[in-house]
Amino acid sequence: MFPRPIQQTRVTTQIAYRIALPVALIIWLLPLLGVAMTSLKPASDLAKGNYFGWPSHLAFVNYADVFRNSPIAQYILNSFKVTIPTVIGAVALSCMTGFALAVYRFRLNLVIFFIFVAGNFVPFQILMVPVRDLTLQLGLYNTITGLALFHISFQTGFCTLFMRNFIRALPSELIEAARVEGVSEVKIFWYIVLPLMRPAIAALSVLVFTFIWNDYFWATVLTNGSSTQPVTAGLYSLNGQWVAQWQLVSAGSLVAALPPVLMFFAMQRHFIAGLTLGAVK
């Protein structure tokens, strides 16, 4: 193990480490803690210039205000409406593409695979104008469907990379044996491979959920107004309304960040497994 386990070092080092851990964490999360504290300050504290001290009392009312006086609940609902279909769609499509690219040998296999991989890395800006035009022409501009359709398509690139490599690592004997038994290809996919993919599906789902929830660029390009905009873009326009009211900005930010954070803590193992794919070989 590297570095040397702390238990094998001198006592002073051990104590120093124990102290360093929380100190480092607090410094690391300082901006976040500051915002969390600000979100609980009554407006009067900020007006008086109490920016850093403890709140004079805990003003949970800021959170209530955020929900009462802004469409943030609607924004959050929109986010879910975009995110959940995207997760389902992208994972479903990539199960199939990943399966095809991992199991079959055909001439264009690697080419198609590399197109998926490369497409996943292109800058969004090169897609912006045509995708916006396409969405307009389909009559899907400023609709949840239009935004989700794009996300599904784009995420299919990353998900295919992930799924294909995952299926590749599965033992191929299973598939061979099934074929010898005369099981059809569709059934092989459905009854043999898919059940084995559960961990990959879980990992991808949490990852894609976070990516899409946090998307801001496409939300700005393809939607506007509180009836369709997800919470990231919504937060931006609320920030315009809440200028100088940092207690509201802070509370709104934390509310918007909450779902992916909960998702992360609930599904941490899967999340990290997905994210670190390829970090070890």
Binding site: A24, L101, M128
Partner: protein, 307 residues
């Protein structure tokens, strides 16, 4: 895998599908995802390239421009500033890789509660960049921001980071590094978990420790993690749109523009009606990205064919 073998059984009672399913299946499985990807990703890339050769306000008719948009780029000070800033982003963002490694090493212990520490250190990555941007805007705010107060205390003269053309870009990059370091950290934590313990022990017996151990024994074993960390960091640096949009909107007076934001500004923002010019900016960004993408694909190709 030899398709001929499976087909040899029961040749007579087969429909077309049953006879050819091994050949048709991949196409059918790829079709839905592939088609969507084609329509929404592959074709738009070519369309953008074609739009970049036109003058177009997004409203009226397109007018052929040849290389006019590209020629204009080089004499456009805003483009040059954006390009320079992209370069600064690329270079400074790389700091996330060693910083992530450092924190990973720091946290790679088995004391009580370390799992919670790891999660909390990773936490910034899960938060949307919009929220990160707002958090740092608050941190940097003139007059009452934490950093402003701090610099005022130390130097007697507060620095309003986002109002200063000198510091604003660095301020935004610092905000971007926060989640990026967390990302690299988690990659390295996973990597460190898989470092072969016997090699470490052997090196220890040889008297290697500290930096020498890290440099000669550990880092070589972390190569896959380093590779992924560099790739995601480069992409993160070139995609830097959200933070610029939230924190400064490219200001003050365009000092924090990057290509991704400038493209949006020219094509679609409140005063931007230049789709063709915007497309040309996007193509330049795409070409820069393509250098890195090609490298990545090349490495994957080598890995695939070596197998």
């Amino acid at each position: 895998m030899t398709p001929a073998l499976a087909d040899a059984r029961e040749p007579s009672r087969r429909s077309y599908w049953r006879r050819n399913q091994r050949r048709l299946a991949p196409a059918l499985f790829i079709a839905p995802g592939g088609l969507m990807f084609l329509i929404y990703v592959v074709i738009p890339i070519f369309r953008s390239i074609s739009i970049s050769f036109y003058h177009w306000d997004g409203l009226g008719a397109m007018k052929w421009a040849g290389f006019g948009n590209y020629a204009e780029l080089w004499s456009d000070p805003a483009f040059v500033v954006s390009l320079e800033n992209n370069l600064i982003w690329l270079v400074l963002y790389m700091f996330a890789v060693p910083a992530g490694l450092f924190i990973a090493i720091f946290l790679n212990q088995t004391v009580r509660g370390i799992r919670i520490y790891k999660s909390l250190f990773f936490f910034p990555f899960v938060i949307s960049q919009v929220v990160v941007g707002l958090i740092f805007s608050w941190f940097y705010a003139p007059d009452f921001g934490l950093l402003f107060k701090l610099t005022k205390m130390l130097t007697g003269h507060g620095i309003a980071v986002l109002a200063s053309e000198t510091y604003a870009t660095y301020g935004i990059i610092a905000a971007g590094l926060w989640p990026q370091i967390a990302y690299c950290m988690i990659l390295y934590l996973t990597g460190l978990n898989n470092v072969a313990p016997d090699q470490i022990e052997a090196a220890r017996l040889d008297g290697a420790k500290g930096w020498r151990m890290l440099w000669y024994v550990v880092i070589p074993q972390l190569r896959p993690a380093t590779f992924i960390a560099v790739v995601v960091t480069v992409i993160g640096a070139l995609r830097s749109f959200d933070l610029v949009s939230i924190m400064t909107q490219g200001g003050p007076y365009g000092a924090t523009r990057v290509l991704s934001y400038y493209m949006y500004e020219e094509a679609l923002s409140e005063y931007g009606y230049r789709m063709g010019y915007g497309a040309a900016i996007a193509v330049v960004l795409f070409l820069i990205m393509m250098v890195f993408i090609s490298g990545f694909i090349w490495k994957m190709y080598r890995d695939e064919t070596e197998r």
